[in-house]
């Protein structure tokens, strides 16, 4: 299970993703995925900077 806090930096998020990738698919595959892990970490960090209104529900079918 990936463990992330809202205050985590991009590097901390990337570390969590890397560890989980290695657990699931091995160290070699985790290394192959490094550029994707960096992108995903940034995307998760960027989302973490947003504070949705407390009454806002997710929109599945728009």
């Amino acid at each position: 299970m990936v463990n992330m806090k809202p205050t985590d930096s991009v590097a901390e998020i990337a570390m969590e993703l890397r560890l989980q990738a290695a657990r699931l698919w091995g160290e070699e595959r985790a290394m192959e995925l490094e550029s994707y892990i960096q992108q995903t970490a940034f995307q998760l960090w960027e989302l973490g900077q947003e504070t949705p209104h407390r009454d806002l529900e997710p929109g599945f079918y728009q």
Partner: protein, 452 residues
């Protein structure tokens, strides 16, 4: 006199209705055209010639007797190879689905047939409609990407092997390849066209796309394809208006909003200068042009879209991935693996931000009749290892608002350029009317010189 394969969908349908064109003659013309061009362009993957000609003959007989099944009577249509076709392979450009033969038609395929259309064949898609490039070539320059993921559908329409083809858009997969190939692309409002029987990338982001050569044809195809579908949970219950009637009402000088921020910085100088010249041309013809600010939620819309896409893609492919991960292309596999790593809370936060973003986009668009941007930051890249940049489509896809792209000129290197117009949810008639007005004012219809 124009060859049958050169006609638009509207022209073809009218000539068949008037008994001036035979559906068999048209089908043969397109099949010969495919023989002449597609060894090089590689835009088609499956064609059942016998079935095409048999159906064309049946429709020809009906037309001779004065019977019309509907708007597409006798008109061939292409399908991206992710649309289920009963009894015909639907491989989604993949090894994983290589032998998959559906036992029912996608709702969109049924609608085309009910309207008298002929399924000409299946067009090449990138693997599972994601970003590993397809083998298809761009008819404008074989060394440049045709874009994706609806690469075969776009190239087939551009090179005139079919007048209309269906694609799909989860990020930018309809409007981007339409722009790179110099044709018209329409992504209607989320839920307007059923996705039932379409191999998914991401349920909450996927849209069926329309690829044609004129705005009139986009409206005609939208009329055929729209409507609520009890089989599709994301299908909208909005009534289906007469789009072509609405289009005629709105075919007049509009109030156009231009979001300069972000687009000016991200576009190449050539594309931005071209877009400014197009805006001036439209203003000179009577359009009112205002600059728009982007909402704050625009800042994270690309990240939210990517997180949602990867997670939903991972959910769909989880079982296949567990057993045959090596059979996937590198990008689609990596994307779904990233989706497997994202915590559920982050996925739900991304979905909440999408809802906020949609509200903000509606408020922005509501200030004007349409929003205009370049369709892509640059013309088709000279790199066949990419499908190009979808960043100008993502805001419209993620928010589910309708967009249409129309060709607007050529770059210095002779590649198509395009502008994208976006409107309010379920106001496609108005959007297409304004697009038609722009199409008329600009007077740009592109055809690749070597495949005209």
């Amino acid at each position: 006199m124009a060859q049958p394969y050169q006609l638009t969908v509207a022209e073809t349908a009218q000539q068949i209705k008037d008994n001036q064109l035979s559906p068999v003659e048209l089908a043969q013309s397109l099949l010969e055209r495919i023989d002449a061009t597609d060894k090089e362009l590689q835009s088609w993957v499956t064609i059942d010639r016998e079935e095409v000609l048999t159906t064309a003959k049946q429709l020809e007989n009906e037309a001779k007797q004065g019977h019309s099944r509907g708007l597409l009577h006798g008109v061939p249509v292409g399908l991206k190879d992710i649309f289920y076709t009963s009894g015909m392979k639907t491989a989604a450009g993949s090894k994983v689905y290589a032998d998959f033969v559906p036992d029912f038609d996608a709702t969109t395929v049924s609608k085309i047939k009910e309207a008298g259309g002929i399924i000409l064949g299946k067009a090449v898609t990138t693997e599972f409609a994601t970003s590993d490039p397809s083998p298809t070539y761009n008819p404008w320059n074989l060394e440049h990407t045709p874009g994706g993921s609806s690469s075969g559908s776009s190239v087939a329409v551009s090179s005139k092997t079919v007048g209309a083809a269906l694609g799909s858009q989860t990020g930018g997969s309809t409007c981007r390849p339409a722009a790179y190939n110099g044709i018209v692309g329409l992504k209607a409002t989320y839920g307007r066209i059923s996705r039932y029987g379409v191999v998914p990338v991401s349920w909450s982001l996927d849209h069926v796309g329309i690829l044609v050569r004129t705005v009139d044809d986009a409206a005609l195809m939208l009329q055929v394809l729209s409507g609520e579908d009890a089989n599709a949970p994301g299908s909208a219950s909005e009534p289906v208006p007469d789009f072509r009637k609405q289009m005629a009402e709105y075919n007049r000088s509009p109030r156009i909003g231009i979001p300069v921020q972000y687009y000016q910085d991200k576009s190449t100088p050539e594309v931005w200068a071209h877009t400014q010249a197009i805006v001036k041309q439209l203003a000179d013809a009577g359009a009112e042009v205002v600059e728009l600010g982007l909402p704050a939620s625009f800042g994270s819309c690309h990240s939210a879209q990517r997180i949602v896409m990867n997670v939903e893609c991972a959910a769909f492919h989880e079982q296949f991935h567990a057993n045959q991960a090596e059979d996937y292309g590198p990008r689609v596999r990596a994307g779904m693996e990233m989706g497997m790593l994202v915590p559920a809370t982050k996925y739900l936060q991304a979905m909440r931000m999408r809802r906020q973003f949609r509200r903000d986009m509606v408020q922005m668009v509501d200030q004007v009749d349409v929003v205009l941007t370049p369709t892509t930051p640059a013309p088709a890249p000279a790199d066949r290892n990419t499908t190009g940049d979808a960043s100008y489509q993502v805001p419209w896809t993620s928010s589910g608002l309708p967009t249409v792209t129309i060709p607007s000129g050529l770059s210095e290197k002779g590649l198509p350029l395009a502008v994208q117009l976006g409107g309010l949810p379920f106001e496609e008639g108005k959007l297409l009317g304004i697009a038609k007005w722009c199409e008329t004012v600009l007077g740009v219809q592109l055809s690749p010189p070597n495949y005209s």
